[in-house]
Symmetry: C2
Subunit: 679 residues, 2 copies
């Protein structure tokens, strides 16, 4: 018998190999995913396998105890020094001596699949751009002179089949001492993505280096910058952190930042410097938290809206503030972190920016598309990423449309009389009893409703400080469901509604949600002005979605995905009552969590995903809302609660919408403003 049958699990791959073939070589031959950093020298221990012995009726073989070669010196030394788990062998050392079944444990698979936790649960196949390689280099010979780098390249070709190699200059300056200290062996951090055939050496360590490489997935928002420090070996998040975007001092929303750049020469450079500095600090903070060196952070992937995209790159965003909203560049960007002057990471770290879809639909929307893949959906899916601007995607396998809609900051609790950011003490859930018209609510940081006896004690520390975005949405929807507000958004008076909770507010009315004045706390009401602000925001959002629906000629969608950190907290029922989103079966309205952040992590962990999203973005059809007359029409028609543009059979299945109509008085749309003027 000169060859043997080998079965690999869990891949199910099998084949015959010559007797004496190392398991690692057999795995490569049969296309089995078995890891190795040292290239089969018994140094890295990444190629551990578990041979099975005895009868395997499924495979039709009986594996003898001597199906693999005996434990050799390298394995013995490794076991002594670091300990090899019971039953494990080093794939590069154990050779095949007879028919055998070999299990590759998850940690020995390069393309390990990671199941993310909680709301973000999604599998990411690991295939990052940067990985570690161990390589042994020939010593110099003065009679055959060649540079150390040239011999390193020869070794990479011979040992790893890497033909085209570049080296960052700072690494080249460290090459000679590293080779000599490592006795002509080194571990390299090598980077290669889909955009270039060249492999770039980002860092070098003498000998076999045991460390790990990390990447940053950064969601660069207008308000906050969120970063996940991600282990590039297994995709696990080692640390997460968020900071306020320091550009806020130049303008709360994007357009005010664009204005700042227009009005102040050098203002864009100032904003660019501020955000780059904040990213560097965030990187340092994350490295400290995870107990790693800045040098181990070799990559960063950014998702952001077009204005942030330009400001990060140092491009004046002025063109994004005026028609035709031309991007300086829409393609994905491949850069050195050094070019962006971002600190806190490896000096040769690479940066990848996802492509932008259009002047108002940025890399963040691209990231959502990567995470949700509407282009692969069988049914028609609407994906809305709710923020100061809403990015909206609509489509299925046949095609995807995108637009952006200027919702404004009301959904984030701004421009609301008692509004505040989502933070402990903020009302985030609201219910109003349709019979008694009495409210109950929950605040962030406490899992009890306000009618629970322990509520007061449990919220003593945070207090009840205001109402956040999801809270105001629920409150407005509940007012409608309780018959306290009519379809036009007008609140009734105490007389009209029969509840003293309706209190006069200038010439309009307000609903008293919580009176904390006895304890020195705030009086929290929902005013006519608040409702108008929410109506404007939700009309913009709905009008955008509606415009895309028009474009493909449909009145309904099969499902709705709410993305964005805020999207995760919106109640689907209330969103539908409000008419933020089109009518759909309630169970088909789901949250995707921070889909943009997920997209960033996917692009960080898998280079094929980068190529994929670039290809998908190229096929997404952009619809510009800013100059589309129908957008205005939809916007007006969407003002009603729910909207007045299409029937909502699914909504009617789960709620009853009271038929009420109140007198606008002389309040109405601008009642809130008048109130303040007179107050």
């Amino acid at each position: 018998m000169s060859d043997a049958l080998v079965f690999f699990t869990p891949s199910g791959k099998r084949g015959r190999v010559p007797i004496g073939t190392p398991v690692l070589a057999a795995a490569r031959q049969l296309g089995v995913d078995l890891d190795s950093v040292c290239g089969g020298r018994g140094i890295c221990s990444k190629c551990q396998v578990s041979p099975g012995y005895g009868d395997f009726p499924k495979h039709g073989v009986t594996v003898a105890r001597d199906a693999l070669s005996e434990w050799n010196k390298v394995e013995a030394r490794y076991d002594e020094k670091r300990g090899l788990k019971e039953g494990r062998r080093l794939g590069c050392q154990a050779t095949i001596q007879g028919d055998v079944v070999i299990d590759v444990p998850p940690e020995s698979q390069v393309h390990k699949q990671v199941v993310r936790k909680a709301a973000d649960a999604r599998e990411i196949v690991m295939d990052p751009a940067t990985r570690l390689l161990y390589v042994e280099v020939q010593e110099p010979d003065m009679h055959e002179p060649s540079g150390d780098f040239e011999r390193l390249k020869a070794a990479l070709l011979a040992q790893w089949e890497i033909a085209e190699v570049e080296i960052a200059l700072p690494v080249l300056t460290r090459l000679q001492p590293a080779l000599r200290k490592g006795n002509w062996s080194v571990t390299l951090a090598v980077h290669r993505d889909h955009a270039s055939p060249a492999t770039r050496i980002l860092d070098i360590w003498p000998g076999f280096w045991e460390g790990r490489l990390y990447g940053l997935a950064i969601d660069l928002g207008s308000t906050t910058i969120a970063a996940h420090l991600t282990d590039l070996r297994n995709g696990q998040v080692a640390a997460s952190a968020g900071v306020m975007n320091p550009q806020i001092r130049f303008g709360e929303d994007l357009m005010s930042r664009v204005s700042y750049a227009m009005m102040n020469p050098g203002g864009d450079a100032e904003m660019t410097g501020a955000v780059r500095k904040a990213i560097g600090q965030l990187a340092e903070e994350l490295a400290t938290e995870a107990g790693i060196e800045a040098r181990q952070i070799v990559e960063a992937v950014f998702v952001c809206n077009p204005v942030m995209h330009h400001l990060l790159l140092g491009i004046d965003p002025v063109e994004l503030g005026q028609a035709p909203f031309a991007l300086a560049t829409s393609g994905a960007m491949h850069l050195d972190a050094r070019e962006l002057e971002i600190g806190g990471v490896n000096g040769a770290a690479r940066v990848y920016l996802l492509p932008c879809i259009a002047g108002h639909v940025g890399a963040d929307a691209a990231a959502v598309a990567l995470a949700e893949r509407p282009d692969m959906s069988d049914d028609l899916v609407l994906v809305v990423d709710v923020g100061t601007n809403a990015e909206i995607l609509l489509g299925d396998k046949r095609g995807v449309l995108a637009c952006s809609s200027p919702t404004g900051p009301a959904f984030e609790g701004a421009q609301i009389s008692s509004g505040q950011r989502a933070a402990p003490g903020a009302i985030e859930r609201v219910e109003i009893d349709p019979a008694t018209k009495e409210p109950r609510f929950r605040v962030i940081g406490c899992d009890l409703w306000s009618d629970d006896p322990d509520f007061a004690t449990r919220t003593a520390e945070s207090g009840i400080t205001g109402i956040c975005g999801s809270g105001i949405i629920e409150a407005v929807a509940e007012l409608r469901l309780a018959g306290l507000m009519d379809p036009r958004g007008l609140l009734g008076s105490a007389e009209q509604t029969g509840t003293p909770r309706m209190i006069p507010e200038g010439r309009t009315h307000a609903y008293l949600l919580h009176d904390g004045s006895a304890e020195g706390g705030p009086v929290i009401t929902v005013t006519q002005g608040d409702i108008r602000a929410i109506q404007l925001a939700k009309s913009a959002l709905y009008a955008g979605a509606r415009l895309l629906m028009d474009e493909i000629g449909t009145d309904t969608v099969d499902r709705v995905v709410l993305a964005g950190a805020f999207g995760a907290h919106i109640s689907p029922k209330h969103a539908m009552v409000l008419g933020m989103i089109p009518d759909a079966p309630i169970e088909k309205v789901t949250s995707a969590g921070n889909a943009a952040g997920t997209g960033a992590r996917m692009a960080l962990c898998n280079i094929a995903d980068r190529a994929r999203i670039e290809e998908v973005v190229g096929r997404i059809k952009k619809v510009e809302t800013a100059v589309e007359p129908r957008f205005q029409e939809h916007f007006v028609a969407a003002n009603a609660i729910p909207h007045a543009t299409a029937p909502f059979p699914h909504l009617r299945e789960i709620v009853e919408l009271p038929q009420v109509a109140f007198n606008a008085g002389d309040g109405g749309a601008d009642g809130g403003r008048r109130r303040r003027r007179r107050g």
Copy 2:
């Protein structure tokens, strides 16, 4: 007649084109070299041609007056605004209406051939990596959103057939204002060399920019840094300058700089910083002299020895100071000037470093090989680049060998009792009358010999200050020819030689070349110590050449090329008497001037030359002198004047070598040193 015969001169290309074809299009079709920056829009005027009319018996045609279309509006406007030379047409405007002969004047040829002046005369075909392109870009359309850069790429593809485009980030940040200011047309500085398929945009100007691009050809020597600011359109040198290499304060010669780096942590970085700063200052100086902006300098090409190569790159040169003399990298380098922190040039300027041949044979030797192309020589040629280290190339079409030899600084006037650098006042030519034993000489800055009656007046300003490298070589050779020195290098006494010019110098003798003491000037002698120093230097040089000759089994070479600034001043006859170089027909010993500098300019002006030299360097066989026992043998045997390793029939044809032998006394090889000790 639907087509016409077109003859282009001086290329001689001809062919038929349809009536109505613009001359520029016809030129492209027939492969005629006709320039255009604006791509045929009548903007740049680079495509000017001179049509010929009347009988052309050689071509067998008669050209009618209406063989080209009539003068059109674009040509009229151009003529009015800037003036078109008599008889000239714009090739993009004039269309072919009948058989015609069209002359392309030199300034309308892209690949213009430049004849360099004086000693450096050599043709350089212009095909630089960086050129200007005018391009018209489509305006943005919000309904078909794409980035400005993406539309620029589309324009480059459509108008210039450039498919793969990269843009430097600082240029991307200026793209939007430039496009708008130029009303959707821009002029780009685009860079593409042989190493990458991508074209990189280095700079951008609104509309059609009339300026010129420049490159620096830099010969980065141990002692001096010489730079030529070169017009990338025609290869002409706009300004030249040289400065002392500021690293001299860390060590006169290379090995003392290597020692400095070894002894002082951070010493290499200090030297790197110093040389980079000096290069930046040199660039600024050249730009000022030529009246251009730093921004117009878009490229720099460096040639240098391996130690300077490493120090420029920021690589500690310590490995070059010890066997096996391993280079960190030997390949050509393609970098951003920014990576090298070199100022005074365009922020996106590119840098090219020629490849090194081995640890002791650097990019300077590669540049000499490019300028002299020994690999294309039919006869066996020896090329020596004389400096503190001599780089030696020997070969012909069948193969080229290279080595480096540590000649030391004696050839540069150092370690010589009355030695000085080549500067006004230095004796550079010497003759000694064999009959009278009386000398005459010339000094730098005066074209008269010292026996000319006007000599004293004409040298009054500079004085006679010392003797430079070429002067000491001639003096030593003349001493031998005059019978004042024997073949071992020993000087005779006044009695032995019969001339009072031989004066006692300790226990040895010295030859009195010039006594300026009466006028308060120096007494200039050639001492036994000076002769020993020159013997050491010339023995090293000859031994290197001899080692290469051994390698291919020859006692003779067909010709000798003396390269290097110093090489240009050496008298071939004296070099041969001294035995610096092997015996060869005197007319076959020529000077190549600063061949390394020429190689740098060639690589700057023609990218094919870059590819060529990389290929040639790959084929050059390196011989290491440092560890070769035969080098020592040759070194000892070469001590005689001339050397004692082979006959010298060619030398004997032109000179008579007196048979003399003097008593070494107790002076001899170290007589000079003893003298000082006792003096």
